[in-house]
Symmetry: D2
Subunit: 353 residues, 4 copies
Amino acid sequence: MSDGAAVRIGILGLGRIGTLHAELLARRVAGARVTRVFDVDGARAAAVGAALDVVVAGSATALLEADDVDAVAICTSTDTHAALIEAAARAGKAIFCEKPVSLDLAAVDAALDAVVDASLTFQIGFNRRFDPAHAAVRRAVADGVVGAPQLVRVTSRDPAPPPLSYAATSGGLFLDMTIHDFDMARFVTGSEVVRVSAFGAARVVPELAELGDVDTAVVVLEHADGCLTTIDNARQAAYGYDQRVEVHGALGMATSENPPAHTGSVRTANGTASSVLPHFFLERYAAAFAAQWDAFVAACRDGGPGSPGVADARAPLAIGLAALRSRAERRPVDLAEVDPPPLSRPLTTSPTQ
Amino acid sequence: MSDGAAVRIGILGLGRIGTLHAELLARRVAGARVTRVFDVDGARAAAVGAALDVVVAGSATALLEADDVDAVAICTSTDTHAALIEAAARAGKAIFCEKPVSLDLAAVDAALDAVVDASLTFQIGFNRRFDPAHAAVRRAVADGVVGAPQLVRVTSRDPAPPPLSYAATSGGLFLDMTIHDFDMARFVTGSEVVRVSAFGAARVVPELAELGDVDTAVVVLEHADGCLTTIDNARQAAYGYDQRVEVHGALGMATSENPPAHTGSVRTANGTASSVLPHFFLERYAAAFAAQWDAFVAACRDGGPGSPGVADARAPLAIGLAALRSRAERRPVDLAEVDPPPLSRPLTTSPTQ
Amino acid sequence: MSDGAAVRIGILGLGRIGTLHAELLARRVAGARVTRVFDVDGARAAAVGAALDVVVAGSATALLEADDVDAVAICTSTDTHAALIEAAARAGKAIFCEKPVSLDLAAVDAALDAVVDASLTFQIGFNRRFDPAHAAVRRAVADGVVGAPQLVRVTSRDPAPPPLSYAATSGGLFLDMTIHDFDMARFVTGSEVVRVSAFGAARVVPELAELGDVDTAVVVLEHADGCLTTIDNARQAAYGYDQRVEVHGALGMATSENPPAHTGSVRTANGTASSVLPHFFLERYAAAFAAQWDAFVAACRDGGPGSPGVADARAPLAIGLAALRSRAERRPVDLAEVDPPPLSRPLTTSPTQ
Amino acid sequence: MSDGAAVRIGILGLGRIGTLHAELLARRVAGARVTRVFDVDGARAAAVGAALDVVVAGSATALLEADDVDAVAICTSTDTHAALIEAAARAGKAIFCEKPVSLDLAAVDAALDAVVDASLTFQIGFNRRFDPAHAAVRRAVADGVVGAPQLVRVTSRDPAPPPLSYAATSGGLFLDMTIHDFDMARFVTGSEVVRVSAFGAARVVPELAELGDVDTAVVVLEHADGCLTTIDNARQAAYGYDQRVEVHGALGMATSENPPAHTGSVRTANGTASSVLPHFFLERYAAAFAAQWDAFVAACRDGGPGSPGVADARAPLAIGLAALRSRAERRPVDLAEVDPPPLSRPLTTSPTQ
């Protein structure tokens, strides 16, 4: 499309995240315009359409085939992502998809193959890559300021656990929550993961044990370049949304700390009191969500592949599957065990291109 | 108006700040609706009206008299504020006005008298009171956590000086920039100012000297309760927008520090490198601007007087006039010198009610 | 001994750490007096004796048997600790011993049995327990402020690797360096370790690989109460001595951060520059070394068992041996594998009593 | 004296600060040796002499004339400083003197003239110049990193007020406490002070008002180069010893913040709790006291004039006298009013040479 024209975006799925994206695209993102929205819940679609003054499509298919749609944002439930990606690829639209593409590697490959075969712009919703502080950590590594990565620490803790029902369909902590951290480990190091050791238990919500899920976990990743990443997750952090990344390299350390909810503090004879952390991801990653869309719009305009792209959409799922097996079998699991090279995509694609 | 209905707001003046307010009210503030906008620049008004899907009024008077306008936001140039306040008061509208009301105390009194006589909701645009960190400092004082205020420090520095032309009409640093800090000193201490000593020079823009203005200044305020406030201002801070408040009391100290632009940092053998400060007020006070409108909408709904209100709109101007005289005459100036009690409003109104 | 009298201490071994302890005891520790010193290097002993105005003993045995010695500080090379502990026990002296007691569990047990059988005061040199910040983390856990520990993170990185020759005799990174972190994990959680998973490589000093040693490592500890501890170590941190501890519990998180070398910083348009970390342990743990001696002197005076004591001297070695096996065999190793319960001391002793 | 030989120092006055210096010099300062001590309290002198194994001189004169004394540290009460400096100058000894030299400018001039005429090494006890963080601020200015100083802020608050009796003899807050801050303002800016405006009251100890003294104060200094310094002092800071310095210049800002008492913190749903500040100057300035002596010993060895030297010993007193008059007369006071140029020393001497 001409550089001047706005990228016309259709949004599939108007849940919490889909509606957030719709509002960002409609009001904040320069060079983007929301032209169609759709949700299986017609009333919800009508409400969002009215609020944003956008046409509500009659069906996902209708939206995908609309002439005034250059790109689609897939924000529906995970089990529908793969099929919608393939349909969007057939329609020749640029694609943004929320993570994960699927909980099944074969389904992921089929969907991503369709995207690659059609040479379309594709971006996966790993929004944290666009957080200014996390991005500064990646930049310090990419620029060689901290030298070759040797130790990486990723802390990712939610303020409160989701409903039990969610755990049953989300794939569990490793595929739903830690998957962001698997991506972060690949992003900041620029190196693929070759072996996974996972540990965890249901410390906060005992019922999760019956579902084979955990709410408190540690994962150790061994990278192709020898770097060691430790991830720790908790579904419940009483003090707020805890998101930190650290890379220790041969020449130094790059760190992304938590911002406070505000910068006020009080000192008395009893010590110093300051604020909690931001409550949750909408506050913590507001800037990242906007920057994510700027990147997608830029990729659509120059027709690039998009980043994080197909390789980035696939690798974290394989790591998550290895983590599930590692915890179940109490042993380190090589990635090749869950993703045999012959069948897998070449991992030569840089995790950060 | 009924609690359920949205407060219908008309916006007068669509410059940088007026447009910001229009967008906030149209899209972010629950319970508010922008029904009319006006600007002397018709093209500008048309553009904003179209972007926000709002009717453009034919004149300020038309907007003030429109039936679908419950409240007006006065964001025009300072020299028009007083007259518009009086007109809005005659029309019986709730009023939000950008600071300052006027550079002339008599004009301020006339305008505010009209508001008080009509018992209308009035709020002056001292947005910093709504910053979560500054508000936490005030709360620590109000709750008695830090004891009686003894020493207050306010630092307020802009990243870069405004154009020379601006200095000529704005009233200069003390009335345009420091006026926010005079309000902050009253807000956090809850005590009126009785004597002012001002110091300053044109260190960055020598041409300001010819206009009798300064770009670097210190002001010492003596409060009625004995507290001493020191304010330091600079029109140019190479490292960003520097906004800090501190209250030292008998039992402790409350502080509002600058947030960093982001929370990433890098440690090497050369030391630790982290980010600059937020570039300017739109980034630094985004939350404060939204909270300011929530407060105004709430006041409109319950028909309260509004806060910061009439006393808060007036007092900082008197302090600014005393500061101008103090610097010119190189001596402390009692507030009574520039604002003789008989003519002045009773200062019994608490600066924070 | 009478409460009034000073504890008379004899010091065995006057290397870097022994001399540090001698100076602290001679000059800083109230209630302590250094009465005898000894080192196999006679010249060294003479120099220290002269500097501190203390009698140089003719032999370790002579020092252990001297009437004016109430307690001994064993600061000799690791391979001599066990025998000296047994000799000191026979002589009925209170004992402070640098870590580790030995690299061999059986030798440790023999030495500690002698101490227990003689009911003597015994303290092992895990000085970090006495760091005010680390101690505050332990206190927050012990007081229940952060709730039951669920995730613990210990970072321990040296500024530069020791000479290769040292690696050959020290037992390697896990037994020489990580052993402090194994103790820290037991200290802050108050829970024993039951399973160990270790990862690591020689990233900085490749020659270490030939010695079966590593310079960069991660260890995951599974505690009896279900808590997960991750430890990361590096023999080389370009930015200084990095020592952090964090406990995430059901109610909150307690953290011990690095102090900066100094608190100066500079902000410019390029960002904010501040200092490196303290260079090494003498600077970082100066307060801890003094507090360690205050605790030992108090224990000698009231005839208590001493803390960290016998159980604390033994457990970290067992964890270290499990870590060595875990890394060699690339699998989690139960502590019972390297320390069969029938032969081992009861681990019921609280790790923090 | 030969470079190799230690500087032999005699200490006059063994109160809190004199004893601190004696211990530092006897045990910590390379190249220094304490050879004689004296105090009018014989018992006290005997105790310190015994503890440090140093000869107790029979009188101040005897100490000053001893052959084994190269330099003297004058730590007696302020009213004796000037006479002892003159006596030491006659004896040709290098001189370290605690601040202030005297509360009378003429007496200061007489004493310093004697030092200058004899071309002796002289250092005044402004220890804060040697604090690593404050020194980093000065270095940033001297190196041009922050550009020409425009605004300086110095905060100096004690944890608790001294006994009333002390106030009567010390010269009061401005000459006893603020004098350190007057020196700091000259040190970090490198520019002399030309005008002083002082404000203050007895907020904590009302009895001070009867003595004409204050416990809470603000002083504004106008420098020769146009820089404005604001100093705020409090005799009582409930949260600890508060010592901060900040220089805002054309290119940036250099800051020296307070270190925490320790680096532990706890985050819960109620917020973040961390430590108080260091209790008082012995903890806060331990490193500075040692560095101060290293500088003096170096100056003695190379026969330099010493820094902070004669000009630095005199200027802060003049500023303090101007502050006293400014507060009494409620007006800015030119330094020339209290220190007429013809009689005064040339202020061309750089405040930081």
